[in-house]
């Protein structure tokens, strides 16, 4: 770590020490092992549920005609939505120069990464013939068939794959300097080799930093439009079909904002937990919770607008089929998902108007949890309430997720949690050098202010 001009090296060293000591000497091993054991159990559930699925076919789920898509696709959208916050916080705020992000970006990115992996697995698992999923990729083949480019699914495939690639790159580029710091502080040979390999020979030279800055900002610039494109694309998975309830033009922004909303909620939850468990109160400060709360509130209100716009579209169009779907949402067999979404997403959210609530970890955590559940219900509602009663009365039918769908969902949470816990345990969860950068800037600002004051 190079020294910052005019700084107090002790403070910087303390930041690095605090962050890099977590992987080297983990502060809460017992709690971690309990959580990790739980996550591994879920992961095992995933493998069993996926095994059953591959052995017998999608029939083990509750899907049918007309509800061809069920939990798998609604969870796909939900996970991918969660995956949005990481990139949004890291990339967009990086480019906008909002330095407070530096306390949150690392674990938010990791969350994005694992959420996108979960999201990406779902559409493959839900295929009738999952072993042929690569047919969606445009690759030269003996069948001389390209993907069908009019299909939103083909674009989904590209979008998710791109998003996953960029997320991995962005996250890894960002973590390299901290890996080097960890390597330098590692005591055992194993740790030195492990972190040494991951640090890619980072020495912190000025040239390294220049290249790093270029790569990091460039990747960020690539990632930002993806935030918008991925979830817009997913909304087309619905909006491209002539199914009542999916035809509103508000869908793309509505989906993106909903995604950011759910993503911020999960980031807030993780921030509260990590802050407490790893004793990071001085890095993830009240101010961060406050800002997360504000973002949550803002995206939440924008999502509310989406709800209204959707209802407005239906009422304005006056199409009987659309009106029917609206009625099904409000009072049909799945009204619980509609009202669940409305209530869980917006009622507790209103508490965030108060700063005192925003900065207190437990209320913030609970509100974020409510939003996470609410957004899950919203995805489920959008999918199922449109499909279960579409055009012809004769083909209406209900959908009930089967045991194996729920098992796969639980397992998928394991797929998310297990690698995330490994990340928490073995990698620097907060970006040390970026916090120091913020610190240095603050100090420079402070000195400048003092100079101003003394001159006056």
């Amino acid at each position: 770590m190079s020294d910052f001009a005019g700084g107090t090296p002790d403070r910087y060293a303390a930041v690095t020490q605090e962050i890099t000591s977590i992987p080297l000497r983990f502060p809460a091993p017992r709690g971690w092992w309990i959580l990790f054991g739980f996550a591994l159990t879920l992961l095992l559930t995933f493998f069993v549920a996926a095994g059953v699925l591959f052995r017998y076919g999608v029939g083990v789920w509750g899907n049918n005609i007309p509800v061809n898509w069920g939990l798998a696709i609604s969870n796909y959208i939900w996970f991918l939505g969660i995956g949005h916050a990481g990139t949004l916080i890291s990339a967009m705020l990086l480019l906008l120069g909002a330095h407070w992000r530096n306390a949150l970006n690392r674990f938010a990115e990791a969350m994005t990464l694992f959420a996108v992996i979960c999201a990406g697995l779902y559409p493959i698992l839900h295929l009738g013939r999952p072993w042929l999923f690569y047919w969606m990729a445009p690759y030269p083949n003996t069948m001389t068939v390209w993907p069908q480019f009019k299909s939103p699914l083909a674009w989904d495939f590209f979008a998710v794959l791109t998003y996953l690639t960029v997320s991995v790159l962005f996250w890894f580029i960002g973590i390299v300097p901290d890996l080097a710091a960890t390597r330098d502080r590692a005591r055992t040979r194993g740790q030195q080799v492990f972190y040494g390999l991951l640090a890619l020979g980072w020495r912190g030279s000025a040239r390294h930093w220049t290249r790093w800055q270029q790569a990091y900002r460039l990747t960020a610039a690539i990632a930002v439009p993806l935030v918008v494109s991925v979830h817009s694309e997913i909304s087309l998975l619905f909006a491209a079909g002539p199914i009542p309830g999916w035809a509103s033009t508000v869908f793309p922004p509505y989906f993106v904002l909903g995604a950011a909303f759910s993503g911020f909620a999960v980031v807030a939850m993780i921030a509260v937990v990590l802050r407490h468990a790893l004793g990071l109160q001085d890095l993830v400060r009240e101010r961060h919770l406050d800002l997360l709360g504000i973002f949550l509130l803002a995206t939440g209100l924008m999502t509310t607008y989406g709800y209204w716009a959707e209802v407005f579209d239906v009422l304005y169009s006056g199409e009987p089929q659309e009106l029917g779907t609206l009625q099904d949402r409000i009072s049909g067999a799945y009204a619980w998902s509609y009202w669940g979404a409305v209530i869980a997403n917006f009622l507790p959210l209103q508490l965030l108007w108060f700063r005192s609530i925003r900065v207190s970890p437990i209320p913030l955590f609970l509100i974020a949890l409510s939003v996470t559940i609410g957004m899950w219900m919203e995805r489920y509602m959008l999918l199922v309430t449109s499909l279960y009663r579409d055009w012809l009365v004769s083909s209406w039918g209900e959908y009930h997720a089967s045991f194996w769908e729920w098992a796969l969902f639980a397992g998928m949470i394991g797929v998310f949690l297990a690698p995330f816990l490994l990340f928490v345990r073995f990698l620097p969860v907060v970006s040390a050098f970026e916090i120091k950068e913020t610190l240095a800037q603050e100090e420079r600002q402070q000195e400048a202010d003092e100079r101003e004051a003394s001159r006056a």
């Binding site: 017998y56 029939g59 007309p66 009738g128 999952p130 989904d156 491209a240 079909g241 002539p242 083909s395």
Partner: protein
């Protein structure tokens, strides 16, 4: 092994029992069967020890013994007299090219003429015989599904003694001994029980049997048949069959007669009624149908004027009509306001079209009323015009048409020493108050012959597996009397005997070929030029001019018995009436093992794999019942338990039951309730004073359509009769011509470009098209649980909708195949190019490209796409695999499938046309559903050709697209129903 020489023949017989294409793969597979173990027990008690304990060593020992004894070389069955070794390709046989044979299958004893498609000697599809004078190619679901019965893996395949498989030699010996004993007594104590018989050969053989043993007697038991000749005996003094000439009838009044409903008459009635209806559509005369009935039927569905009335009121209605027409002796009983209004309208219709109208009363009503109905028809001038009479088509045994009760009396009195049951299952289907089982125990020699080892077979000493119609030589008459020759399409692959052989065996004649037996019958009738006529009849599938001539004897008496007083229906729960009906898909239970029919949704309830206790909306409201509530229905001290179904349009105090379920064998085991358990001799068709009680439990209903209210939409459109004729009211846009704006450019369509039109005005909702589609396209059956989950695989479904008041709704049916949209949302959704459009306008699904994203189905507004949720096909037993159409791919797990407009038939026609260097002719491509339709409601063809039949249909002002607002430009369009049955719009009430 010399000491085992006597048993070696038996084992050889066991091995040779499987003839034709070997459906067991190896001897060890055969040796592993239970039947083998049973045979071993029977014939080689010493070896039982070996086979009983199935460890590896003993199994190998048993197998070794069986191999040695069977002597792999000497086991061939006696060759069929015409069998040819397949060393060189027979003339005319080309691998992969279908051969068609004209033959017939039977329903309730009556012939249903078919053309059967065979590949390499195995039948794969049955179609109607278009040349047949009665049906003109019409089919029904039973005919379509008969193919699966042939291949039924659970069909009986070996003779059994006391339930255990034995060799034919043992059976033959026992039969010969029995025949000797009968010779001593002139057949005293011998009774033959059959179903309805129309086969001239069988009649001849039975006559021969009765000639040899004059004291023997022949009885008939046909569960769903009625004594049909009481009225003609009364009126004309002799038994006559009454034939409805619906093609001539401009006004039909039906009193509880389901003339368009399931049964042997459906095909000819449907065809003739639709001819009249089309005449009316084209401005030629009227086609009015007025129906009075208690429970919804397909006839009531097509009626322009349906009176919902208790079955017990039919007599009063008939007497009222008769009295107003001036039939002497008719006693007008007081009618309710609604009833008298309907009678007034019925009278108007009958009188307006006098000479071209007819009145028909359900065959289940008493002969006295039937007689009065005949007199009404005489008064209407229907005799010889809309009604014709012939001598009875079915054979009449000396004891009357139905005489099971007399037989059971004798059995109970121990006067029966030998009972031969031919293709009947009275232990299951006999009336409940006739204790058939107990009486059967008293018969010392009981022989059952049937397709299945059924409940009666289990109670008999001997069971003989009967050959299916498609694997035997025989003959039978269609309901109009035209005789068909039945020729085998496949050598039996089970060890079975035909009824003809069995009767020949009984009279001591062994080894005579069935064909010779049938030939003998016709040789005696034809005399000269026999071979020419025989060949001609085989080629045609029926014998020309073989129907009995229409007769019109003078009316001998016009005496009318007075109307039995029926109390007007009360509203109390104690006054519930039960109406028994044939099941629309498994009939009297004989098709219970046919998965195609089990999974065919029943009209109205759309139930599969089971029957329901259909209650009226009023009863449901009174007792708080909803669909799926388990209820116990008691009638006359007996009760059944089943699932309730609230049936809109059912008479307030009526509960409708269907027969055929509650069986204890095969795939039908545990499904539904057995309505025969409530049936009595005195009240075989209806019962009064039933009580209904809710048990509190719920049953899962495997229906294919959960919602039936049309909800104000116009899925099925109706036009007034006056509007139907106005041309140019709406016009189907030309192919490719844009309708509403679309983001996608319109395509140009070259000839041919396929399209379909379905006339909802003539569709009677019979399901023949559904089963035909299953058979043609290898559609897998998924079973009760998966249907309940909404995973049925039918490519073509028949939607039912109710419109209006649930107590008296208008009912609509609408067959829904793929719409083959020009702007298909499914094609847009598929990421891998599996849903594509062909140049000739078909929306196609490329199975081996499909990865199963199901986007196409999610995007489909019609939800006509079906998904293979599991692997439905690869575990099919070999017999079922043999039933598949080799022209259609069998789909694997995880792929989407759908209606293709029978693309295989289009390809075949295209190839033929190309070879002959000409365009495909109109009518050359006939889809399976189109062919099957008894009312010719479906037209198909090239829509770029303005002269094609389908284009002419689509040019009708009644033509419309389903879900036009979805802007998918469907190629399948519908012709709206016409409200009314005459140009004045009369008949609608």
């Amino acid at each position: 092994m010399g000491e085992h020489s006597d048993t070696s023949g038996v084992l050889r017989a066991r091995l040779s029992a499987h003839t034709g294409r070997a459906f067991w793969r190896s001897l060890d597979e055969l040796a592993g069967t239970e039947e083998f173990a049973a045979a071993l027990r029977e014939e080689m008690p010493a070896a039982t020890r070996l086979a009983g304990a199935f460890n590896r060593r003993s199994l190998l020992q048993a197998m070794a013994a069986s191999l040695a004894l069977a002597g792999l070389t000497g086991g061939a069955a006696q060759a069929d007299e015409t069998a040819l070794p397949y060393v060189e390709q027979p003339d005319g046989e080309v691998e992969g090219v279908a051969r068609w044979y004209a033959t017939a299958v039977t329903l309730g004893g009556y012939a249903a003429p078919v053309l059967a498609k065979t590949y390499a000697g195995r039948p794969v599809k049955l179609e109607g015989n278009p040349d047949h004078p009665a049906t003109g190619g019409a089919t029904d679901p039973f005919l379509q599904a008969a193919l699966l019965d042939l291949y039924d893996p659970e069909r009986s395949g070996a003779p059994r003694r006391l339930g255990r498989p034995v060799a034919w030699d043992a059976f033959d010996a026992a039969l010969a001994a029995q025949a000797n004993a009968l010779d001593q007594t002139q057949g005293e104590g011998l009774r033959l029980l059959t179903g309805t018989i129309t086969s001239p050969t069988l009649v001849r053989q039975i006559a021969a049997l009765l000639g040899r043993w004059p004291r023997a007697r022949w009885h008939v038991f046909e569960p769903l048949e009625e004594e049909r000749h009481g009225a003609t005996v009364q009126i004309f003094g002799r038994p006559l069959d009454i034939h409805l000439r619906l093609d001539r009838a401009e006004a039909v009044v039906s009193l509880d007669a389901d003339i368009l409903g399931p049964g042997p008459w459906q095909t000819s009635h449907g065809r003739r009624w639709s001819e009249r209806r089309r005449g009316f559509q084209n401005g030629d005369g009227a086609s009015r149908l007025l129906v009075a009935e208690a429970a919804p039927s397909l006839t009531g569905l097509m009626a322009q004027d349906r009176l919902i009335v208790a079955e017990a009121r039919m007599g009063a209605l008939l007497h009222a009509i008769a009295a107003r027409l001036g039939v002497d002796g008719a006693t007008p009983a007081p009618l309710s306001e609604q009833e008298s209004q309907w009678v007034k309208r019925a009278l108007t219709a009958l009188r307006e079209h006098a000479g071209r109208s007819l009145l028909t009363l359900g065959a289940t009503h008493p002969a006295a009323l039937q007689g009065l109905a005949l007199l009404v028809n005489e008064r209407l001038g229907a005799f010889g015009t809309t009604l014709s009479f012939t001598d009875p088509v079915a054979a009449r045994p000396p004891d009357g048409q139905l005489s099971l009760d007399r037989l059971v009396e004798d059995m109970a009195a121990s006067q029966v020493s030998t009972l031969v049951l031919l293709g009947v299952d009275p232990a299951y289907a006999a009336p409940a108050d006739l204790d058939f089982r107990a009486a059967l125990e008293k018969v010392p020699f009981r022989l059952h012959a049937g397709l299945h080892f059924d409940e009666t077979a289990a109670l008999c000493h001997w069971h003989v597996p009967l050959a299916h119609d498609l694997e035997s030589w025989s003959d039978a008459r269609a309901p109009d009397g035209t005789a068909s020759l039945i020729q085998p399409l496949i050598r039996p692959f089970r060890s079975v005997r035909s009824a003809h052989s069995l009767l020949a065996n009984l009279t001591g004649s062994f080894g005579r070929a069935d064909r010779d037996l049938v030939k003998e019958t016709w040789r005696a009738q034809w005399g000269t030029a026999f071979e020419t006529r025989w060949r001609g009849a085989l080629l045609r599938g029926f014998i020309e001019q073989s129907a009995p001539a229409a007769v019109l004897p003078p009316v001998t008496t016009r005496e009318v018995s007075p109307l039995a007083q029926v109390p007007p229906p009360e509203g109390s729960a104690e006054a519930l009436c039960v109406a028994f009906r044939a099941d629309p898909t498994i009939w009297d239970g004989r098709f219970a093992n046919n998965a195609w029919l089990q999974e065919t949704p029943k009209p109205f309830s759309k139930m599969t794999w089971g029957n329901v206790i259909a209650v009226s909306p009023q009863i449901a409201a009174r007792q708080g019942l909803s669909n799926g509530d388990e209820v116990t229905l008691s009638l006359g001290g007996r009760s059944i338990t089943g699932a309730a179904w609230v049936m809109p349009g059912q008479q307030a105090d009526t509960i409708a039951l269907t027969f055929g379920y509650g069986q204890s064998r095969g795939i039908s085991e545990g499904l539904g309730y057995n309505a025969f358990a409530l049936r009595t001799r005195a009240q075989p068709w209806r019962g009064n004073g039933a009580a209904l009680a809710k048990t509190g439990a719920r049953r899962t209903l495997s229906t294919t359509q959960a919602h039936q209210a049309m909800d104000g939409f116009d899925f099925v459109r109706t036009v007034a009769a006056a509007d139907a004729a106005v041309s140019g009211r709406t016009r189907e846009p030309a192919p490719g011509e844009p309708r509403a704006p679309s983001f996608y450019p319109a395509r140009r369509w070259d000839s041919p470009s396929w399209g379909m039109a379905i006339d909802l005005d003539t569709c009677i909702g019979c399901n023949a098209c559904v089963v035909a589609c299953v058979s043609e396209n290898n559609v897998p059956m998924v079973g009760q649980e998966l249907v309940a989950q909404g995973r049925e695989m039918h490519w073509l479904r028949v939607d039912h909708y109710y419109e209006g008041d649930p107590a008296a709704p208008k009912v609509h049916v609408q067959p829904v195949p793929c719409m083959h949209c020009e702007q298909a949302p499914c094609e847009m959704g598929c990421p891998v190019n599996a849903a594509v459009h062909s140049s000739d306008g078909l929306n196609l699904q490329v199975y081996n490209r499909c990865i199963g994203t199901r986007t196409c189905s999610s995007f489909c507004p019609y939800k006509v796409r079906r998904f293979n949720w599991f692997d439905f096909t690869s575990n099919d037993p070999p017999e079922l695999q043999a039933a598949r159409n080799p022209d259609v791919t069998v789909r694997s797990r995880g792929v989407m499938e759908k209606c293709t407009y029978c693309v295989q038939r289009i390809s075949e026609a295209r190839i033929t046309a190309k070879k002959e260097g000409r365009p495909i002719r109109d009518g050359e491509v006939v889809t399976a559903c189109q062919q099957a339709c008894p009312t010719r409601a479906i037209s198909f063809g090239d829509i770029t050709d303005a002269a094609s039949q389908v284009s002419r249909q689509k040019a009708s002002p009644r033509n419309y697209s389903l879900l036009e607002e979805a802007n998918t430009w469907p190629r399948t369009t519908y012709l709206a129903r016409i409200d009314g049955g005459s140009a004045e719009g009369g008949g609608s009430g």
